[in-house]
Symmetry: C2
Subunit: 379 residues, 2 copies
């Protein structure tokens, strides 16, 4: 990864879909010290095309004036961003392309994304099948089985807001207290509004090249150590065999990425992680599914401060979806941006100490798909 | 390419989105003599997700019961199918995957696809910006500049219907006469209804593996000689510099694919082609853009019978979009199916003689994107 960029996330009524893409594109070229002409293929990450852009590769071509080259749109629920990055890696690894752009952009404030698609109509789940409602089912089951407390969920929000408050690009740059999170209006019990990530506009990008070419360029690069993507089913919550306390897609995707990266003990080898905290509970499930702690130990992992900025495995030093916001196609590339900048040691007040190996993780749909990327410091 | 398949195209009210995907999947496994378990990644080609499927990789996972593996959805206007195939090729070439499925499926009869997205509103083009209306502008300009006659356009429909009548999987298996095409109700002058491809349901698939593995398997394989994809702009028809008589995206994509395949004289080296004949005029423009004949010589190419089934460069021996139908995400893979079967010599009454090198070509949007694939006989 020779360059990364991220726009300011938030209520970006000041910027069109194309404006956001251009802002991310200019940023990634500047960061990589690469001319636009050098890019020989691109992947656009957009989940829900808006009325003025986002469908097909041509919308990116027009936004950034990149012509006569392959540009594809990849869509994979909320894992769209990391999956687009994965395709950029495949394109470079194939030897068919030498400089591939992955760019994620989403305008969500102009037109809200519809509810998660659930096929058919379940007698109970058919009503209230919004994302908060679905993930709340998992949180409730986990509370029942493992004794997770409301305050522990809230602690995830407190941590991620504290990190995001340090981040000039985050959507919600404010600290929240445990009391505020617990007292916030209920969205879907146990989640209050501060347990849920906001709806956000934004764009982010990464530029991938072969290691040898990156070295010739003298790029401040990080190395792709592993990628994994796993799909389970579009409707795990309707599967009678589903246990509701974790996400198999994450476990499979992590196994693939760890295998490729040669990571055997993620809890000791991974220095920091950006994980998919669409809801506070999701982050706790991710600790376990990614192997940062054993099953059932997720609550203690946050309670004991291990995932804090100065903990032994900082999680979401950027502020996470929780405070950064979640413009769907952009989020995965925003994570790649954060991990790359952390490995380069350029994160100032939110810099993680001894960042050697970083992980980015997206979870899409109601646990339908997960993508994991492991990036390492270039030695 | 170790296996291909194609469902019957048409009014498939008998089959759901998932049924069509399953039918194509069973076909490709049977054709390749490969077990489902061997597939280690997949790419889903769907342009317009319907109410019961098509969004994200998970809809394919559920349809064909392929779990815990990477499945991505690729979307690129009407080039979605060939682009998904291109991504399967990249994934295999990367060395990260050994057996990759590309599967295209579209249900168009249940819910029509909306008009082509044109950003903003042009005073003239803003009204009537349907696909027939846009391509008719190009046809009219070409008629003006090169003296193309109405009867020559009709001859493309006559040829492709004659080929499709021989094809048990085609949507419209009937011969049409020159008089019928010319006398058919006008859709957008000069196009009558028989100059336009129909709206269709269908699915098609291809399985890609490394050459050495295909040989070990003893597969009846064809070799990927070249792939190319080029995006120009989402709205070439609104570009004041656009000449309206051809499609730059096709020219660029072909140049990429020919370069990779070592093809210097496509008019002599390509044995047969499946090209994007969404309208009769499009096929004539494609002859020129793909280098089968010089600029302006497209009308003579059809008039003199060169693109006929027994001509020197048969085009759309399958029947083309014109008679086969155009379920958007499936069409490109249906072309890969036809070229593969032709190179294998298994096309019976529509078999092209001496098929050594075949080309598949999709054109997407209003000339916004094109994808070209060159396949060769395995020696």
């Amino acid at each position: 990864v020779v360059g990364v960029s991220c726009t300011r996330f938030g209520d970006r009524y000041d910027a069109s879909y194309g404006d956001l893409a251009r802002e991310a594109f200019a940023g990634v070229l500047r960061d990589a010290s690469v001319e636009a002409d050098r890019i020989d293929a691109a992947v656009l990450a957009t989940y829900s095309p808006g009325p003025h852009g986002g469908k097909s590769g041509a919308s990116l071509a027009d936004a950034i004036d990149l012509r006569a080259r392959p540009i594809s749109r990849v869509e994979n629920y909320c894992a769209t961003g990391t999956d687009a990055f994965r395709h950029a890696v495949l394109a470079v690894a194939s030897g068919m392309h030498e400089c591939v752009l992955a760019l994620g952009v989403e305008k969500m404030k102009d037109r809200p994304v519809r509810g998660l698609p659930l096929e058919g109509r379940h007698p109970v789940l058919g009503r209230g099948s919004s994302a908060p409602g679905l993930f709340a089912l998992a949180a409730n089951r986990y509370m029942h089985e493992y004794g997770l407390r409301r305050e522990t969920l809230a602690r995830v929000a407190v941590k991620n807001h504290a990190n995001g408050a340090l981040n000039p690009l985050a959507h919600m740059r404010k600290n929240v207290s445990l009391e505020e999170v617990v007292a916030a209006p209920t969205i879907a019990a146990p989640f209050g509004v501060l347990d849920c990530c906001p709806t956000t506009d934004g764009a982010a990008a990464a530029l991938v090249m072969p290691t040898v070419v990156a070295k010739q360029l003298g790029a401040n690069a990080v190395r792709v150590r592993g990628v994994g993507l796993a799909v389970t089913t579009a409707k795990p919550f309707l599967d009678p065999g589903y246990g509701y306390t974790g996400f198999a897609a994450t476990q499979h995707a992590a196994a693939q990425a760890y295998d490729m990266a040669g990571v055997r003990h993620p809890d000791r080898e991974i220095s920091l992680a950006e994980v998919h905290d669409c809801f506070t509970f999701t982050e706790i499930a991710n600790y376990e599914d990614l192997g940062f702690c054993p099953k059932g130990a997720g609550p203690a992992f946050i309670d004991e401060g291990h995932s804090a900025l100065r903990g032994r495995l900082p999680v979401n030093p950027s502020g996470g979806l929780k405070s950064f916001g979640h413009p769907i196609g952009a989020s995965g590339l925003r994570m790649i941006f954060e991990i790359t900048e952390q490995l380069r040691g350029r994160c100032g007040s939110r810099q993680v100490a001894n960042a050697e190996l970083g992980l980015a993780h997206n979870l899409g749909g109601p646990g339908a798909v997960a993508c994991v990327v492991v990036l390492g410091k270039e030695s």
